[in-house]
Each structure stands twice: as C-alpha cells, then as structure tokens.
C-alpha cells in the first residue's frame, strides 16, 4: 500500500484539533505551540508531495481509494494532480503562517480559535484532494462551519452579520451543486460519484442536460470565487474577519471556486464550457474592471484589498473561459500568485491595525520615515499585486491575457484597463500612507516584529521566485492543464 500522504495532510490537523480540545483551559501557550506543530507537519508533507510529484503526466497520483458507502456507490477516493498539488502546498503554507500570525493576534478563547483554524485546514485540504463527489461535497461544506465561527466570534465590526451572510451565500451555491451531483449520479450508468469516471462519461449526455448541470455547478463555484454579482459577501466577510482568517479566506477559499471550475465544470461539461464562454468572459471583465473601480473608492485599507481580490479573481475566470493551455496555465499561476500576495497583504494590514487600531488610508501619511521595514514590505507586495514584472502577478496576468486574446478579441483589451486602474489605486494608497509628510499622531507606532516578518518573508520569496523562475511551477502544471483543455474541448 502507498504511503497515505493526502489523508495524513488532511486529517493530521483534525487530530490536532482533538488534542487541542482536550487541553486544560488557560494553557494558551501550549495550545499555540500545538496548533503550530499540527500545521507544520502538513507543511513538511506538502514538501514531500512537491518533490515526489511527477509533472510529466496528467495521471492522478498519490491515489487512495476505499469503499465507503458501497450501497450508494460512494468511495473514499483521494488523489492529486498538477492542479491540486500547488493548491495543497499553498494551503499548508498559509495554514501554518496564519497560525504563527495568530500567536499575537488572538487573546480570547484561544483554545477554540485554534481548534476551528485546524478544522478549517481539514476542510480545505480535503477539497483539494477529494476525487469522489460525496467526499468533495462534505469537505466543501465542512469549510463553512469553522469559517462561520471564526468570523462570528473573533471578528470585528458587524461580525455576526458578515458571518451569517458568508454562510448563507456559500450554502446557497453549494446546494445547487448538490442537485447537480444528484442529477449526475442518476444519469450515468452505472451510478457513480467518482469524479474521474464521470469526466469520461458526461460528454455522452444530452446537450441540454450538460448545460443545466453546468449552470448548477456554476452557481456553487461562482459564489465562492466570487464572480459578479455573487460577490457581495466577500467585502463584509474579509473586512470583519480576524487577520489570519482573512488570509485564508482570500488565499485559499476563493481558489476553491476556480479549482472547482477546473476540476469539475470544464472537464465534465464541454458543451457548457463552450456555450457559456462569452457570458463568463463578460462576467470576468466586470469583475476585473468593476472590482478595480470599487477599490479606487475605498477609504478602508482592508476593504480595498478585499475588493482587489474580486478584481484579481476576474483574471482567473478570464483565463478559464478561454479554454486555452496558456489561459488556464495563467489562471493556475494567478491562483497561486494571488494566494501569496493577497495573503501577505492581509497579514500586513493586520500588523498595522493591531498597532494603530484604524485602517483608514487617509489617517496615515509618511509612514516610511517611522516604519521603514514595514513600509518596504507593504510596498513590495503592493507592487507585486499590481503586476510589476519580476513578480508572480505579472506572469499570471500576462499569461491570462495572451491565452484569452485569441478567444475574446474585444473583451481582453477592455480587461487590460483593469491593470491600469489597479496600478492607480495601489499607487494612490502607497502615496497616501507611506510617502509625504509624516503624521505625528503615529509617533508611538512600533516597527513590525520578527514573528510578523517571519510570516510574510516566505510569501515574498515565493512571489519573487515564481516571478523570476516560473518554469518549475509551469512544468508541474503543464501536463494537467493540457489534459483539462483536451477534455474541455471535446
């Protein structure tokens, strides 16, 4: 039997959660170290995953498959390919870093907080490695519960409202996915929920069935991405969530949506992919330009970065809609890159908020004089986010545009406007906060601590690393992306 690396990555955090729940009340320090330990193991395992992964083939690797509920044809089927491996690594990395960041951030109900954070990691790992629909759906839903509590208990502002809004929006989408799953199950002979088997069989189904099921899955994934007009939960949830949770929300949860499109919708329903190409590209364009324009209008730094996620996820969708190898590769690059950059930006916003207790852009000024290291890091990531060459954001956006231009000759040039607006709002923010005369009100601010630097440096290294040497990641995803395109244009 193979070494069950995916199950270990998924369920070690669960073990950690149980261990933490059994610690005595008040041992906050122990709880923190336990949480770090139980997220560090998956991180180590994810390095093994990266090194063992064979990028030359699109075959599913690290397969684990057992019967689970045989009478309904449900199996416990885990596996990874070039699409899931980078996501699993990103999950392990951001999971670990957000635990480290939370050391200083969370002071109340520490035990419950870390327990939920670990449960969240279980769900995310599971989503990226499950290849049976039932299992996939369960992990997909499990993610909601800890997220709901994390926002609702440890958040700021209108936290209960944001938490329940997030929950209901996402559940609304995933219930349509449930109908889609059931419809697939009963329309394929023999009845199965195995995603890989379904991908082979679904193109034989009628066109109208494919379109309807595509639409059902679209709602589920679109809420998660989020695609306009399903995006309104995002600013609320991001702004009101505690820092580490915003990081995971932006870094990983949004990618669950695009992952769903690439794993399920496109390979499974080529007819749907073709039929909905233009509408999805238009929605992506709205995401890009509208998201960027809304960013221009924000006074709250965190809200601005939240909306920048709407804009950036639009690039992903544009790349997917084109169904070309370059476009989808660009999308996967953008998924990784956005996870790294926006994760880091949320961490840095958290650093400032903890000290200044405000996030209003206009309240600051000339911070570079007082906090050179912090400002340097922040500006680095802002430049990364606006797509400066040499960093990962540039590679991904460039690939998306090249890959999707042949398919959408009008939409893509319009989408490039989004890049300009993105540069505008980030530069405006940099100017307002870090340049100019120093606002003496912030004389007492302390510089970013070593632990906080530790949480963002790995992200900076990866961001620049991918920007300068994109080929390792490109090689890893190449075969899988080619396979997805091959399946989606059947």
């Amino acid at each position: 039997m193979n070494f069950p690396i995916l199950s270990l990555m998924t369920f070690i955090p669960l073990l950690g959660m149980v261990v933490i729940l059994f610690t005595k009340e008040g041992q906050d320090k122990l709880v923190r170290y336990l949480a770090a330990f139980f997220t560090f193991i998956p991180l180590v395992l994810s390095f093994i995953l990266l090194s063992r992964y064979q990028g030359s083939t699109s075959q599913i690797q690290f397969v684990e498959k057992f019967d689970w509920i045989p009478s309904l044809g449900i199996t416990y089927f885990m596996g990874a390919d070039g699409l899931s491996v980078p996501m699993l690594f990103l999950t392990a990395l951001l999971g670990f870093l957000s635990v480290i960041y939370s050391f200083g951030d969370i002071k109340e109900k520490v035990k419950q907080y870390f327990a939920f954070l670990l449960l969240l990691e279980v769900g995310m790992m599971g989503v990226f490695s499950a290849l049976d629909f039932f299992l996939f759906y369960i992990f997909w839903e499990i993610v909601l519960v800890p997220m709901y509590f994390l926002i609702g208990i440890w958040g700021h502002g209108r936290k209960e409202y944001s938490a329940i809004k997030f929950f209901l929006y996402t559940l609304f989408g995933s219930l349509f996915m449930l109908i889609g799953i059931l419809a697939l199950y009963f329309n394929v002979e023999p009845h199965t929920l195995n995603i890989m088997v379904l991908i082979e069989k679904t193109p034989l189904l009628t066109r109208s069935f494919q379109l309807l099921t595509f639409a059902a899955f679209f709602v589920a994934f679109a809420v998660k991405v989020p695609i306009f007009p399903f995006h309104t939960w995002l600013p609320d949830a991001h702004v009101d969530a505690p820092t580490a949770v915003s990081v995971i929300l932006a870094g990983i949860l949004l990618k669950m949506g695009t992952y769903g499109f690439l794993r399920i919708s496109y390979p499974m329903f080529p007819q749907g992919a073709m039929y909905f190409a233009i509408p999805i590209a238009i929605l992506a364009l709205i995401n890009i330009v509208y998201g960027a324009l809304v960013c221009m209008a924000q006074k709250d730094l965190k809200k601005m970065i939240a909306y920048s996620s709407v804009s950036h996820m639009g690039y992903c969708m544009l790349g997917i809609a084109a169904v070309t190898v370059t476009g989808i590769s660009g999308c996967v690059f953008q998924m990784v890159s956005h996870g790294l950059i926006t994760g880091a930006l949320f961490l840095l916003v958290g650093v400032l908020y903890e000290r200044a207790h405000t996030r209003e852009i206009g309240a600051f000024g000339g911070l570079w004089i007082k906090l050179p290291v912090y400002s340097g890091l922040m500006i680095l990531f802002c430049l990364g986010s606006l797509g400066l060459p040499g960093m990962s954001g540039f590679i991904s956006e460039f690939m998306v545009f090249i890959g999707s231009y042949p398919a959408f000759k009008v939409i893509v040039p319009l989408a490039v406007i989004g890049v300009v607006i993105t540069a505008a709002y980030f530069l405006r923010m940099i100017q307002a906060m870090f340049l100019g005369t120093f606002n003496t009100k912030w004389e007492g601010l302390s510089e970013i601590s070593a632990r906080e630097i530790f949480t963002v440096v790995p992200l900076a290294i990866l961001m620049i690393g991918i920007g300068v040497f994109p080929s390792p990641l490109a090689n890893m995803i190449k075969a899988t992306v080619e396979n997805i395109v091959h399946l989606a244009v059947r």
Binding site: W68, I138, L168, L175, L178, A183
Partner: protein, 486 residues
Amino acid sequence: MDWIIPAVNLKLILPEIVVCLFAILILVTDPFLSKERKIWSAHLSWIAVVIAFIANIRLWNLQEATFTNMFLVDNYATFFKFIFLAGSFLIILISMSYLKREEILHGEYFSLILFSTLGMMLLASGFDLVVIFLGLEIMSVSLYVLAGFKRSDLASNEASLKYFLMGAFATGFLLYGIVMIYGSVGSTNLGQIINHITSNDAGSNLLIWAGAGLLLVGFGFKIASVPFHMWVPDVYQGAPTPITAFISAGPKAAGFAALLRVFLFSFTTIKMDWTMIVWIMAALTMSVGNIVALAQSDIKRMLAYSSIAHAGYVLVALVAGGETGVSSALFYLLAYTFMNIGAFTVVIALGRKGQDNTKLEDYSGLGSRSPILAILMTIFLFSLAGFPPTAGFMAKFYVFGSAVKSGFTGLVIIGVLNSLISVYYYLRIVVLMFMQAPVTRTDNERIKVAFCAILVLIISTWAVLQMGIFPQSLLSLAQASVSSIF
C-alpha cells in the same frame, strides 16, 4: 353457527404483547408504590421497551401475516418498530429527571407512553385499515392525555384540548375515508384494495378517490403537513417538553409508516394521479414550516415549525416513491428521531422547576456557561439543518437523491432552497450560544444534567455522527426493509 377461531401466531406480536402487558402492569402496581418509589414505574417502562426491542430483533427478515391477514410482520414494519422503540426509550430516560423536577412523577405517564408506543407499532404492522385506525387511536388518545400531563399548567391544558379537538377531526376524516373505500372495495384489507384497484378501472371510481383523499387528510393531521398543521405550534409549546419531543419523533414516524404503506402499496397503481397533490403538499409543508420558523422567539415553537418542515422533506420521499423513495424516508425518520430528541434533551436540560427557559434569549452565552451542552446542541442543530458530516445531511442527500432519480427535480430545488432558509434559524441559536454574552440572570448557577439525560445525549450524538459518517450499516438496513411492500 360455527365460530372459527383464526390461527394466531403469537410470536409475531410478541413485541406488542410485551409493551402492552408492561403498560398494564405499571397501571396496576403504581398505586401501591410510595411516593419515593414512583420511579420504579419508569424503570419498568424502559425495561419493557428494551425487551420489546430484543423481541423485535428476532422478527427481522420475517415476512408473515397473522390475525386473518390483518397484521403483517415484514422488515418494513420491523424497521419502524425499531424507530419507535428507540424513540420511546430515549424519551423515557429524559422524562425521569424532568418529571421529578416538575413534581409530576406519576406512573400513568410511563404507562401512557407504552400504550402510545403500542399504537404506533400497530400502525406500522397494520395490513388492514381497521387495524391502522385502531393503532392510530391507541396512539393518539394516549398522547392527548400526555400533552396535558402538567395538570396545573394552563398551557399544558390548552395543548391537550387543542390536540384532542383537532385529532378528533382527523380521526373523523380518516374513518370516513375508510368507510368510502370499504363501500367501493367491500373490504378494508390492503391486499384486497390493491387487487380491486388493479383489476377494475379505479381511475373512474369516485368512491376510491374520495376515500384516498380523506385518508390523506387524516394522515396529514398526524404527520403535521400543511394545511393540516395548525395544531402543532400550540401543542408543542404547551405540552411537557419530553412529550413534545415524543410527539415530534415517534407518532410522526408512525403516521408516515401507515401513510407510506397505504399509498405506495394499496394505491400504487394510481400513483400518477395522487402524486401531484402530495407534491403540492410537500412543497407547502417545507416552505410554510421553514418560513414561519424564522419568526419564532421560543425554541419549542421554532422546533415545532421545523418539525413541520421535516415532515415536508419526508413527503418528498413519498412523492419520489419506489424502493429508494421509501428507504430514504425510513432513513430520514430514523435520523430525525435521534437529532430531534437530542435537541429537545438540551432544551430540557436548560429548564428549571416551573421555568422552562425556552425563550431564544435564554440560549445566549450558553457556550460559556456550559460549553459541552452548547457543542452538542450545535451538532444537533447542524444535523437538523442538513449539514455534513451528520445524519441530517446523509438523510437529506438520500431523500433528495431519490426524488431526482424519479424525475422530481423541481421539488428538489424547492427542498434545497428550504434547507437554506432553515439554516438561518438554526444558526441563529448557534450565534446566540457562542457569539453573545449571557443575559444577566438571577440563576447563574451551573447547569446540572441528570445522568439519564447525559446517556440520551451520548446515544443521540453517537447516532447522529454514525449515520453521518459511516451510514452504510443503517442504510443497508433501511434498504432491506422496503422490498416487501412492493
């Protein structure tokens, strides 16, 4: 004139005999027990349930009718009896501390619970409309009394009276329906009815139609489907809480046992014709239950409306029909029994003498006052909302799956949107428990949970998680239960 005494196989009704004898035994011995020893009646009653359960296990995989084909033992009936007995067992356990607390510990209570269970078992096994009627009456009359068991409490009296009046109407409808069918078929035996309907052109027979419609009304009252649900909120709120839990679990399942058997067995050849009506009933029941539950400020009332909604989900399974439809209904009712009794046990644990603490505000800050109770309540609520990996999700998955299979995707979309609505009101309690500070209250003492209630909580939690994560064994049981009725 010769009287032929029909051959009766007593082994088949052994569970019923046990329950009945113990119920009588409790009635007889209770007056002789001193006040401190009244609890013995309770012990006798759960022992009765356990013995009946064991006797019932021995009937598994048996298919035999007795009492001139009026009483049928098949896996379908046996499975339902497992649900009833398990439900009654849990209810007896949670009743003991509750009755002590409210100082209404009388033996009749347990005797009535056993009689009511007996009625349910007859309903599940009845293969003749008369036996079904008999079972329904034994069950209901006991429940009318139980609903009013808090004699000194006006709300409890009101609940009892309302339940009785509404129930009496329902009985009237049911009986009238039976009469009409008898008038047309010349027999009340379910086997004869299906033969008659299949051999004659029943579609044009008005009597059959009227009879089926009246039966649907009668059963609709018992399972609390819209538009026959009006009694539910007041009865649920006024009745002693363990009885509320009881009514929502066993009798509802019993109503479904008879409804599914009559409609999917006897009226199966005219299924196309009645499906549309049940379709509308299911959609209305889900929607009205869930939407009205949103506006409730009392947890017992909220759970009352949620139980209406859950009846709607089971009706979806009836619409779906077929083997998967019925087995999904069985699985759903089993799951619902455990998660609902679990939730009610937490509700009971929060009460004080003469003070039920069932307002939603009473739940704020429960997460810090009693974390374990709050966590368990959260599990039950998530299960009621149909969230994985709990029994509620598995059950909904199965029910909706069976409906999609039969081509009722529209109804499934209504059902799915309804579960979304339901999440809102279930989560509101979770929000109160974990995200809000306790309301300043006079009795901020620790919540003590009686041993029996802890046992119930353990059993229900285990069942909810077992059915959610490793449902295979119970699923196959539910699937093995249905082949006999087709």
